[in-house]
Symmetry: C2
Subunit: 357 residues, 2 copies
Amino acid sequence: MLKFASIMIQSEKPTIMDIARLSGLSKGTVDRVLHNRGEVSRKSYDKVMSVIKELGYEPNVIASALARGVSRRIALLIPEQTPGSFWELAGGGIAKASESVAPLGVSTVVFNYDQRDAESFRDACSRLLDAAPSGVVVAPIFGADTQMFTAELREHSIPYAFFDTKQDDEGYLAYFGLPEYKSGYLCADQLTLDRSASEVLLVRIKRDPLRQSDPTVIRRAGFMDYMSEHCPDCIVRTLFIDPGDPERTDQELDAFFAAFPGTTHVAMFNSRIHLIVPWLERHPAQTRRVVGFDNLKANMEALARGTVSVLIAQHPEEQVAMAIQALTDMIVMGRQPARRDNYMHMDILTRYNVEFY
Amino acid sequence: MLKFASIMIQSEKPTIMDIARLSGLSKGTVDRVLHNRGEVSRKSYDKVMSVIKELGYEPNVIASALARGVSRRIALLIPEQTPGSFWELAGGGIAKASESVAPLGVSTVVFNYDQRDAESFRDACSRLLDAAPSGVVVAPIFGADTQMFTAELREHSIPYAFFDTKQDDEGYLAYFGLPEYKSGYLCADQLTLDRSASEVLLVRIKRDPLRQSDPTVIRRAGFMDYMSEHCPDCIVRTLFIDPGDPERTDQELDAFFAAFPGTTHVAMFNSRIHLIVPWLERHPAQTRRVVGFDNLKANMEALARGTVSVLIAQHPEEQVAMAIQALTDMIVMGRQPARRDNYMHMDILTRYNVEFY
DNA sequence: ATTTTTTCCGTTACCGTGCACGGAATTCAA
DNA sequence: TTGAATTCCGTGCACGGTAACGGAAAAAAT
């Protein structure tokens, strides 16, 4: 008797059979209750539920996954993972997360689209829907199209999560991304840390007007607010460059610094700081501090060489991994995420800590 | 036919039954080969191995965990998790990691010891060995005693991993911790970012001489090297305080700053920067930059208030989680970690990004 | 009261491994 | 050549759930 008692203390988790026995029903019925797929009388339902609650039963996810077979699919909808791009980083996170949810019987499948082509986005959407996934992770670039897409997901009651950019949308399960405003604020603080800034250059990308949602807009607002609060006498100028034309970029930088040679501090709000690195390295004396975003390989190398002073990293690989995790929790255990909007940490990378990322 | 073909594409993983069939043996024999527990003829062994290799078979961890039952235990050996301490942070990581490895049939159990009392360490060691864990994670404070302990683990062929501090030891599976030297270097860089440092104070803790391994020693070396390379004219002074006596600490700080009123930059190499925060906040004009380590709650609050300029966070919760993960990979799938020594990222926390940690 | 339909529930065959048990095949001793 | 001791291997149940199937009981229709 005592032996049994001590065994009980070893936290023998109640199984589906235990609650079947205690409620005087079979495990088939209990299973129907657990997944509430009907064919259960009100009375039995209540009985089972009360026993479940009493014993604090929670299903064994691994047995569940085994029985179900590797079947649940999470589909990802993100821009093409061009080598060296922001989205390639996200790809790494997808791979890692896939591994960790695989034992739970969840697989992932990626649908890419061209971020300059709304048509390709719509195409990817429809291919994704054909695959009938159990959950979806979206990095939404095209606002209106995304709205239509998520509406369809809601209709099929497929849960979905956003990362990187959020949509005004009532149905999403979770969002993982940077606190955009604060990231601009932080950027300005890091840029002006040496207290010697008087003329600042913001380099921006000529955007395709089709692109409807752009996280850098709010980022810029945070930046400007910091500047007017902490460096009211600073002059902030903007230069637009074309990401597809390196030579033109160089010329434009030449022209800019010829016109404003007092500019010593440079910032960019997207992941493309590496585009201006060649110019900066040909004019090492021109700038005192350079701040950019995101831990792309090219960016980190420039950081290690000292060309870039600081990178603010949002680690899209973590964001997408957490989105996948949240969807898995939902799909496998029906567990709602703790928070819906998850503003993730911003890491400050300098040449002295970059090698460990 | 075509339908089946498309299903086959869905990467039907080979099972133990497949390789049994193809090698003309039974799954029992295959199982014995997989866990090489003998009772298999040389011929059968080779045959099974070749089929395994050919099919690229890898065992289904979740089925394996289910069949085995929740049994494998990983024991943690760390100092007491006093509220507000560095080790409490680690506790959070343990809880999170426990959850994620639980589905794989691995549980965790923590053994605490008093970091000022070697006897309690030895006691915890023997209690841990009695529990006969399948793997061990150690934060080694007492060098010699740890050596004896790990020797015993090796004798029982129990794999073990270090975190926070490493031991000179040939048998450990993996180590997770900060790059100590670089962290000191980074600390100096962050402290002197405003280019106005001329007199610097290092606050240190009066250590119990029993404590034999202290990660802050190397950290200090990195700090001093940076200073002599980048701020050769800076004067660096040291003050020792007693962690148990706040009033005395205040008095000593009073005395120090009375003697050296030109001191504007302060750093500490351990997680106890919060000990001097009260004094700093009573003398807000005294210091220009203050740098400390570790994301303790009290430290982060001081950071948010602006008393502390920068915290370098090593996130022990991640370190211990990765150590648990590495051991789980070893125990469950026999997979060796990719790297033995894992120097983890150092995060720079400022008042503008701290709220998202 | 009998048939038909619905509602509800138990049974059963898996999912992929681990492992104990027992028996066949082989080797050794007599 | 026969019996005993070893090797070696196959069988079958267990792990905790899932879900299809079929049948009993209850409700509805005739």
